[in-house]
């Protein structure tokens, strides 16, 4: 946190994003992970090649290495005869210097010995063992891969902050790296609340629903590469929620997410739980639908984002508010939601007095709305959706052909 924040209510989304970004410090702890575990991680140091790769000139063919000058005029009718002084397989290395009139039998990937300046495919020879007939004239550097053709000692191969994909992993292997310095993954805790929510696999009592938020958000965090380390569910009990938040903090959480209990009802117990902990509330209510009553607070310097209990409210605010935090925590800017322009192909007849985000399907610049209800409590109609349409305050309705801002999920 760069400065003390005063409490605010009813922020714009942009103000809320600025606030949560400001209180989120990138994780700078470095850990060395095994090369086979580095995929998707963010590199914490610049990586410089320590040697030329390959560390020797090598043959790209199975055949013979020799001096190009010795092959002058060779063809099937006028073979050149060379003395085969050695055989070098891939993985072997010869200190011997090859003289004029000599050749070595050489396999793909093997180190070309000193004195040779070209290689011949075996198909251009009689495959001789002690002497070999050469049927082709070749030039200096024909079939010849230079030492360092992949990379040279001292080359900066990767920079701190790069995300490691399969190509980087392969390159790090080629550089001989057994372990890779990467930023520690952020430790994220997810605490869902609500007396009405029941874990799947448990019988559903009257008045109850199953806890979709827990699994929805847990899966989304995982999909974004930010697996929650700690996932808990509690009833509407301020003490229990406070206890879970404290335990997450004690375990070193970098970010604590809660769902439910943030509105104005008697059971909106986050308003009670956060003061119980002595957490500093930074804002409540963001001027957008769904998920208006989001609370942002700091507990011992750890950001706590308390999301709506409505699944669509929770997931939308995860995308809009929490992803900028994840991008910062992980040092991975690609976690920021991308915003593009799109043309509506469906109607949305409802008036939006305030700013509203609705679920939609984006493809090739066009935006369709899914079948099913847009209600915050409805998750089923999100199936197939890959974006949120950002509807400006005061919009009467959206009609086909309207240009809209689209947040890609």
């Amino acid at each position: 946190m760069k400065e003390r924040h005063s409490y605010r209510e009813g922020l714009t989304l942009e103000e809320a994003v600025a606030c949560v970004t400001d209180i989120t410090e990138p994780v700078r702890d470095v850990e060395w992970v095994k090369l086979s575990d580095c995929l998707g991680r963010i590199l914490a140091q610049d990586m410089e090649a320590q040697f030329d790769n390959p560390p020797f000139d090598r043959s790209p063919v199975d055949g013979y290495a020799c001096r190009a000058a010795d092959t002058k005029g060779a063809d099937r009718n006028h073979p050149v005869l060379l003395k085969v002084v050695e055989e070098i397989d891939a993985g072997q290395y010869s200190e011997r210097e090859i003289r004029p009139g000599e050749a070595v039998r050489i396999m793909t990937g093997a180190a070309i010995p000193a004195g040779c300046d070209c290689c011949l495919r075996q198909e251009s020879t009689n495959y001789g063992e002690s002497t070999v007939e050469i049927y082709e004239e070749v030039s200096v550097h024909d079939n010849y891969c230079d030492r360092g053709e992949d990379f040279k000692a001292g080359t900066q191969m990767m920079k701190a902050g790069e995300k490691l994909g399969y190509i980087e992993t392969g390159n790090l292997a080629g550089m001989g790296c057994e372990k890779v310095p990467v930023y520690r993954r952020p430790r994220i805790a997810l605490i869902t609340t609500g007396d009405e929510v029941t874990l799947p696999g448990t019988p559903l009592l009257p008045g109850r629903i199953y806890n979709s938020n827990r699994f929805l958000l847990e899966a989304r965090l995982k999909e974004l590469g930010c697996e929650a380390m700690w996932v808990e569910s509690t009833g509407d009990d301020a003490m229990k929620v406070a206890e879970q938040v404290k335990r997450a903090a004690d375990r070193g959480a970098d970010l604590i997410l809660t769902t439910g209990g943030v509105s104005v009802g008697k059971k909106d117990i986050l308003h009670e739980a956060l003061p119980l902990l002595g957490a500093v509330k930074l804002f409540w209510r963001v001027r957008l639908k769904p998920g208006t009553p989001t609370i942002c607070s700091l507990y011992h310097g750890i950001p706590v984002i308390s999301l709506s209990g409505n699944p669509f409210g929770a997931i939308t605010n995860l995308e809009l508010l929490v992803r900028p935090m994840l991008a910062r925590l992980t040092n991975d800017p690609s976690l920021q939601v991308q915003v593009v322009s799109g043309i509506m192909e469906s109607s949305f007849p409802k008036e939006s007095r305030g700013r509203r985000f609705i679920r939609a399907i984006y493809g090739g610049g066009k935006v369709c709305l899914p079948d099913g209800l847009h209600s915050s409590g409805v998750l089923s109609s999100m199936k197939g959706c890959n974006c949120l349409v950002d509807i400006a305050p005061g919009t009467k309705a959206l009609a086909p052909g309207d240009q809209v801002r689209v947040w890609l999920l």
Copy 2:
């Protein structure tokens, strides 16, 4: 395998893909995984909702539920007084039927009791405990969410073959699924060979290079969601390679990948290892560069794809030949490489007598070539590349403005 295959050499890529697809059977074994582990898996059964969700009419607001008729004419100056007969929090359920002149205090998400046909926000009342003053006239179904608004019993929510993302995970949770039937992941073995390759972390002896294929391919399989269960490296020893292939088969591998030893040299030991096992060779050599000498064989009915030892040859053939197999094994057609059209922005001056694939960067319909060498043994220049340009046989050169087929990685 649908029919007996005869051995072929020098197939086109399309013939090779048809062959490998033909010998690859989709994994149909079903396993039930915990909901929190289902992300990215392929659903093995249709999923039908067993109950309405929510299973009751519910309030989307904190306030009061009553009969709309009772609020007729109410405003701040003419409040209607109702008797508060009960309080219902989320998670509670009342059997009581509400009569005219009565109201219940109700919280967001709570079940609306019989007799009520609307809810009022508490801001439109005096928050009364035993009686409440109503300041707003509301209509039937105002602030009222119907039972089953998310989904109704009997709705087919998902079909077998769908890939489970975060939304599906959330929906399965809402449906009360504790475990989910998904297809078993294919068991893939990866065996890299070569006397010249050394594991990172080991000192590099003269003539040796580090094993990039192992980590490159392992990471790529993981990135595609097809983690290799079994990764081994051997030297150029046909018996040892044969032993590893046999062990992978004994462990139930669905697909065995090897790298190296497939060309025409003395140490191209796959030609020896496969017959040692009694494997049936289906093809050798595909008419494309890089990675021409790929071998396809069947060992006890298990496809064995033996890729080039050159990193670019290995990874290109993984994309072109093995991905169609992965798509089939996993029941996930999205693993197929997508082919699009692009316009070259760079030159590629080299003549392509046969079909050639080169690494490139695709974006917005345009194709750029990376800096660095295109040699098969060079991996470093793949950094930033996200596609392969498919160059037709007999192409003299590619120039800016040329239209090309692009395989997106």
